[in-house]
Structure formats: C-alpha cells, structure tokens
C-alpha cells in the first residue's frame, strides 16, 4: 500500500535521511526502529508532506505523493500523530477529535449549522476506543501527558485513515504506560482493521507487536523484514542490539 523508495533529505549539510526505503502492506502493523537521531521523525515528515524529499519517491496506492501538501496527503487516506504532543490545547478533548472528523466528512467549511450537533457519534466512539470518553469535556491542554498522547492518536483516527502513522507513540512514557499503549495500538489495528506504521527507539517494545520491522541507522535503512529475521540479522546485531558500543 505504501512504498518509500531510496528517499533522501538533508538539512544544510547534514544528511538526516540518506537512502531510506520502506514497504507497508495493507493490514500490516509495521515498526520503524532506530536510536534517537536515526531519522525516523524526518522519514515520517517526508511521507506525510511536512517535509519535501531531496530525492526519492513516496508511493501510496500507486500514486507518487511526495510533492503533495500535507492536507492533500491526509485526504488520500494517511493520518498521523506526532512525537511531541501536537494537539489543540485551548479546545476541549471532544472538539480536538471532532474537528478531525468534520474534516474527514468534508464539513469543515459549513457556516450555518451548530458544530456541536455534527459528528458526535463518530467522535465519541473514537474517544471511547482510546479511553478518553470520560474526559471529553476537559480542555485538552490541561490533560496529563499520557492522556495527551492518547488524544494524539485519537485525532489521527478522526480522519478514518487507511494508513495511520504514529511517531513514537510511547515517547516519555513509563514502562507500564508503554505496554498499555502498545496494547492499545494492537487493539486498534485489530478492531478497526487499520494499517499502522509506527516508530520506536526501544527495540524490545516492538518485537511481539509488529509484523514487519524496519531498522534505521544514521538515516539509512539497514533491513526490513519479519521480527525473527531482523533479530537474527548479523548487521543489526552488530549495529544495534550488540554491545554498548553504537556504530
């Protein structure tokens, strides 16, 4: 469904993404792993249009989307969350998700109809599935960190995407919260039939969740394959799982 081909992006002289490739098949749960600074966030920004690649292609459902602005990429069926909570802090939790649902339904520009009557069922169902329904009336900016992370995901779900991209959904979480979030992601993939691409810097977290793992290092794809294949790859052992010495 999604194919990233040999993509490159430099900031000034620094090559943040330097030939990364990735394939995501429909219905899969795919993880990108790599240490901090490997270029995961930059890769995701290239896929969803926040950044434009210097070289390489992003193909989604047989269309090259690498030159489209973010809102059009979203319209093609890709939604995303961000590593640093990127919500609407002054709006209520409900409204945060509702705005996304309204956008999906093409109702963002409706002028003379009370917003509060629209997309209520869809919004509540999403809030329920991420466990935020009881906080629907709170101001988003006042939520605890963990809840803001969940809201991040909920906003992305509002778009009814075919592919959801989650940038380190467990960032800044305790081990228990991390486990819970991974379970949430798995549950969402199963219950909503979503295709999910997410990234993570801690390799152990993803092995029993993801069906396919792509390992990234210094902007480069080292390998993509099934968890066992990746675990046994000598290159990955050397580079990543290996000793304290990062390469």
């Amino acid at each position: 469904m999604l194919r990233v081909e040999e993509i490159h992006k430099s900031f000034d002289d620094f090559k943040a993404v330097n030939g990364a490739s990735l394939t995501v098949e429909k219905g899969e749960l795919v993880a990108v792993i790599g240490p901090n600074g490997a270029g995961k966030t930059t890769l995701f920004n290239l896929i969803t249009g926040q950044l434009k690649p210097d070289r390489g292609k992003v193909v989604f459902k047989d269309e090259d989307i690498s030159k489209l602005p973010p809102y059009q990429i979203c319209g093609r069926g890709i939604a995303r969350s961000f590593q640093i909570a990127n919500i609407f802090p002054r709006l209520t939790v409900f409204r945060n998700v509702q705005v996304s649902v309204l956008s999906q339904q093409g109702k963002s520009r409706k002028l003379f109809y009370p917003a509060e009557k629209l997309a209520v069922k869809e919004t509540n169902s999403i809030l329920e599935s991420v466990g935020l329904l009881d906080k629907a009336g709170s101001t988003a900016g006042s939520l605890a960190h963990g809840d803001q992370r969940a809201l991040e995901i909920a906003i992305a779900l509002g778009n009814e995407p075919e592919l959801v991209i989650l940038d380190e959904p467990t960032a800044g979480m305790s081990p228990e919260e991390t486990t819970a979030t991974m379970e949430l992601i798995k549950r969402l993939a199963d219950s909503r039939g979503l295709t999910i691409l997410f990234c993570e810097h801690d390799m152990e977290v993803v092995f029993n969740v993801a069906q396919s793992i792509m390992v990234m290092h210094q902007g480069l794809t080292i390998i993509q394959g099934e968890p066992d294949e990746v675990r046994n790859s000598s290159q990955v052992q050397e580079c990543y799982l290996g000793g304290a010495e990062p390469c």
Partner: protein
C-alpha cells in the same frame, strides 16, 4: 436547529440589554446617544477583527483599512454618483471584502509576524490613496456632510439603525463562531500544522475568514458614515488599527463577546479622558502594558474565569 445555541437562559439577559438600549435615547442627552452609537459601530468593528485575531490566530494588524474602505465606498457612492442610496450601503461591505480577499491572498502565504507586516504596508497604501487623492477623497480633510436618506438622517434614527444592524451582525457572527467553520478556525489558531495534517487547507480557511471579517468591517464602515456623516483618512491610519487590536486584547480575545466590552471601554476612555489630555497614544501604551502584565485574557476573559467556568465553556464551544 439553533434551539440549543439560543436557549432562554443565555438569551434572556441579552434581550433585556437590547430593550434598555432601545429606550435609552429617549432619556439620554443627545451627546451620550451619539457616543453609544459610536460604541456600537466600533464594537462591530472590533468583533469582526476578533474573528480573525482571537478565533483565527492571524496577525491582522491593519483591520482599519477595510473599515475605511467600507466607509469611503459608501461616502463616494452617495456624493459622486446618482445611484440609489441602498447600492452604496451594499457596495461598502462588498468592496471591503474584495479588498480583504486581495490583500489576504498575499498575506496568508506568509507566517505570523510577516503576515502582519505585509498587511500594514498594503493597508498603508490604501491610506496613502485616501490621504493624497484630493480631487476624489478630499485628502486629509476627508468628506463631510454626506447626505443620508431621510429615514436614517436624524440622530435617533441613525442610532436605531446602527443598533439593529449591529445586533443582526453579532447574531450572524455568533452562528459562524459556533459552526464547523468557526470550530475549525479555532483549531487553526491553536495549531495550524496539526490542522494541515488532519486534512484542512489552512490557507484557504484563513482566507475565507479574512473575507468574512473584512465584510463585517465594511458594514461597520458604512455605519460610521451613517452616524458621523463624514469620512477622513484617520479611519485607515495604522494607529487606529492598533486601537481596534487593543480593544480585542482588552476585552478578551479568546472569548466571543469580549471585544464589545473592549470597544466600550476604549471609546469611553478616548471620549472622557481625551477631553483632559492630548496624550491619548501615551494612555494607549499604558493600557497595553497593564493588559499584558495583569489581564492577559482580557477583561471579559477575566470575568468568565473568575465567576463562571460554566459559561466560559459554553462560550468556547464545549461538547455539551
């Protein structure tokens, strides 16, 4: 379908205020009636600015330009053409909105402060035209004694006309504020980057908001001519735009009704303090500083914060 938005509890006090305003001219001295009418015009203007500043997060630094365009349009049509009067009244807001579309189309390509700076320069260009083109606009003297149709030419009838048009405009603005368009606009204010990522064409949305806001600014400009019977370049001068901006901040720019309060306070100050001192701009500066330090949410924002969390949530569009 609007029953929930206009429930009795929230509408009741407003109806009472409206009735009081209807009665006031019969008991107030003429001068105060006039000041009230000026407050209505300015309140509408500040409310229109707040649509883009407070709810849209745009640095609309030269809103006065569109107000002035509305006022000059109607003034020129009434004095220089023999078209029916009402065409002038309709042309005012339309020309203001077209100007908003033109200037806005350039501005929305820029971010934040650059948006504001470009708007000040383009707006000042319009001011320069009004200021320099003597043969058409009367230059810095402006135009005076603009003839009004008899039905709104007396002071009281001008007052009622202004009050009613303002009330209608505020109701429409409230509906927009509560609509999906308004909700999305507030989301853009909070986080434009995220809005792009959920499929919203941010620039398009902002441009539409500017066109709507400048349309209402044009209506305020027309009402100004109805109340004052004259126009002058100061309407489009950037200092006045700053004043409108301060009205929004002063009243509370994240609230819906704040700018009305801000306009009332500023007009009263200018009228009654202005009599005693020439240093009006100095006072403006002091107000601004006090605001930033002590009332960052504005007067109305402060009142809502202190006395009614409930109503604040209702105003800012909670889920209930």
């Amino acid at each position: 379908m609007f029953r929930d938005i206009f429930n009795l509890k929230s509408v009741g006090p407003l109806v009472v205020i409206f009735i009081i305003l209807l009665i006031l001219p019969t008991i107030l001295p003429r001068f105060y009636t006039y000041i009230l009418a000026v407050i209505f015009v300015t309140a509408l203007l500040a409310m229109s600015l707040n649509m883009v500043v407070g709810h849209g997060g745009l640095f609309q630094f030269h809103h006065g330009a569109f107000y002035g365009v509305g006022a000059y349009t109607v003034a020129l049509m009434l004095t220089k053409t023999s078209l029916p009067v009402w065409t002038g009244f309709i042309a005012g807001p339309i020309i203001a909105a077209l100007t908003g579309l033109l200037i806005g189309a350039f501005c929305v390509r820029l971010t934040r402060l650059y948006f504001g700076m470009l708007q000040i320069s383009l707006g000042s260009l319009i001011w320069a035209i009004a200021f320099r083109w003597y043969s058409l606009t009367g230059g810095d003297d402006g135009m005076h004694g603009i003839p009004m149709p008899p039905i709104i030419s007396s002071q009281n009838s001008a007052y009622y006309f202004t009050l009613i048009i303002m009330a209608i405009c505020l109701i429409i603005m409230y509906l927009i504020f509560k609509s999906p368009f308004g909700a999305t606009l507030q989301a853009i204010r909070d986080n434009p980057e995220r809005c792009e990522a959920i499929g919203i064409n941010v620039r398009r949305h902002q441009l539409i908001a500017i066109v709507i806001a400048t349309f209402f600014a044009g209506i305020a400009g027309v009402l100004f001519v109805v109340v004052e019977g004259s126009v002058f370049p100061d309407l489009l001068f950037w200092v006045f735009s700053l004043e409108i901006f301060i009205m929004c901040l002063l009243g509370g720019w994240f609230t819906f009704a704040g700018p009305v309060l801000g306009a009332a306070i500023m007009i009263s100050l200018r009228t009654f303090v202005g009599i005693y001192t020439e240093y009006w701009t100095l006072i403006l500066g002091i107000i601004l500083i006090l605001l930033i330090f002590f009332l960052p949410e504005g007067v109305w924002g402060y009142i809502l914060e202190k006395f009614g969390r409930q109503s604040k949530e209702a105003i800012e569009g909670g889920s209930k």
